[in-house]
């Protein structure tokens, strides 16, 4: 199977001592990778480096074999992403926002814009400006933007953030469909551990900037009742358990 993401000794340390250290990871085509970790563990930092928004102190990331630092355009040609809260231009309509992005891809036409708006349940807000959108609607528009070019890799940082239950189910289905029908690879970070369990087929736990373990969801669930139990156990073995997780476990 084709290697889609290659992370080699990825290191980025901030002045406050947080960051990521020596992250090495390979993700293959068709995998739905769940990136778990407590707040401040380094998930977003890793994803920002993967998408070129940050530069690593050391190491490199290759997407489809192209270095994100040296061949950015080629590396990102088949990538869609959401990093933190997806922001849209408030003075452009939802359609115009997507049209802006569509211009970067020769194969994306107006029909495809309508299609992704439909897929994310945003078609009826097509001509509205995002300044009046709720967080969930902004998130849906962000997902529409991410899948617009039919990317082979989707890097999604908290994709279910702000969505209602119906929205969560809809996006979860969308992810599973894309992985199954188009062999799209996913790299997803989420705090909603139950959703990760239902969606992802491979899990990586990051703690204090270090990758603790990478296993398939199937293997994890052979030894643990839930993914939450596994996560708590992994984090506990390495020091601290976030209080909210402690209470639930």
């Amino acid at each position: 199977m084709e290697k889609v993401i290659e992370m080699q000794n990825l290191t980025k340390l901030f002045k406050n001592g947080r960051g990521i250290s020596d992250l090495t990871l390979d993700i293959y085509q068709g995998e739905i990778f769940g990136f778990l970790g407590p707040n401040g563990a380094g998930k977003t930092t890793a994803m920002k480096i993967m998408t070129g928004l940050m530069r690593p102190d050391r190491g490199d990331v290759k997407l489809f074999g192209y270095s994100i630092q040296e061949e950015y355009e080629k590396a990102m040609a088949n990538v869609g992403c959401i990093i933190e809260i997806p922001e849209a231009y408030p003075y452009l309509t939802a359609y115009e926002n997507l049209k802006q992005l569509a211009r970067f891809y020769s194969e994306v036409d107006n029909k495809r814009i309508d299609e992704v708006l439909e897929l994310t349940g945003m078609l009826r807000y097509k001509n509205e400006k995002p300044k009046r959108f709720s967080l969930g609607m902004k998130q849906r528009l962000g997902i529409a933007a991410a899948i617009l070019s039919r990317p082979k890799l989707l890097i999604l940082d908290e994709p279910l953030n702000g969505l209602d239950v119906e929205g969560m189910i809809q996006i979860r289905k969308l992810i599973l469909n894309l992985a199954e029908q188009e062999q799209t690879t996913f790299f997803i970070s989420s705090h909603l551990i139950h959703d990760v369990e239902l969606t992802c087929n491979k899990i990586g736990v990051i703690y204090n900037g270090m990758l603790l373990n990478v296993q398939t969801t199937e293997d994890i669930l052979k030894n643990y009742a839930t993914l939450e139990n596994y996560f708590v156990s992994e984090v506990e073995r390495n020091g601290r358990v976030p209080s909210s997780i402690n209470q639930r476990a």
Binding site: T51, E73, K74, Y89, Y91, L101, R103, F104
Partner: protein, 250 residues
């Protein structure tokens, strides 16, 4: 090249949809109307000709080149960079298959086009007003001189905008960039008056360099010197701002 074109079209679309572009057009119109009313008032009240035909265009330019044009160039440059940094909308563009240099170049080109359109609009407007109210004195040579004066005024305003782009990549907030830009503009203008012997090295003293192009015998050496100095400023600002933009983390 295709992605650069896409980025440029996007930047121009954003400029068109923002209210600042409309405000710039409305203010240009207002300024020309008020200017023409003043000229008419002087003519009718005191019997003085004031400014006729193409002179009116020059009068408008001499005022706009030190006020309205740099102000809007500054605002658009701030919006294009600081505005998008602060709203986090820059991420959306940066994570597309386009290099940072192409995004940067597209933004700078769009700012340049905005300045050109603003100058063209103002020149046409002032010429039309001049033609309507003092058309009897308008000559073809005069019209050519107006076009030349407005055309060469692009350079100093564009260089100023590049300076603001550099500031926008140094300072975090757009408001700080605006105040530092305005303050620097005023200080440099003041320094140009106080130390006139050194004004040649200050960018703000080039805003009226269009006068050099209107002289009966063209001072080529002076024009070339001022052009090269502006080019130097432009290269420093462009390169410095790109270096910072390329290193910026989002």
């Amino acid at each position: 090249m295709a992605v650069f074109q896409a980025a440029l079209i996007n930047e121009l679309e954003k400029l068109r949809k923002k209210k600042k572009a409309v405000v710039a057009i409305v203010l240009s119109l207002l300024m020309t109307v008020i200017g023409q009313l003043l000229v008419l008032g002087v003519r009718m009240g005191f019997g003085i000709r004031g400014a006729g035909s193409t002179d009116f265009s020059m009068l408008v330019l001499s005022f706009a080149v030190n006020t309205l044009l740099p102000l809007f160039a500054v605002l658009v440059a701030i919006d294009s960079f600081s505005g998008e940094f602060n709203q986090n909308t820059m991420r959306t563009t940066l994570t597309r298959p386009i290099s940072r240099f192409k995004i940067y170049a597209a933004k700078v080109t769009a700012i340049g086009i905005f300045i050109l359109v603003n100058l063209a609009f103002l020149s046409i407007l002032s010429l039309v007003f001049g033609l309507v109210f003092s058309g009897d004195t308008m000559s073809f040579k005069g019209v050519l001189q107006v076009i030349l004066a407005y055309g060469v005024s692009f350079f100093p305003i564009f260089i100023l905008a590049l300076g603001v782009v550099l500031l926008a990549n140094v300072l975090k907030s757009g408001t700080s960039v605006f105040f530092v830009a305005i303050l620097s503009f005023i200080i440099f203008k003041g320094l140009g008056v106080l130390f006139s012997q050194y004004s040649g090295i200050l960018l703000t003293s080039y805003f009226d360099w269009y006068n050099l192009w209107l002289a009966s015998s063209m001072p080529w050496v002076k024009i070339l010197r001022e052009f090269l100095l502006m080019l130097g400023y432009g290269l420093i600002f462009f390169t410095g701002a790109y270096y910072l933009f390329d290193k910026k983390e989002f």
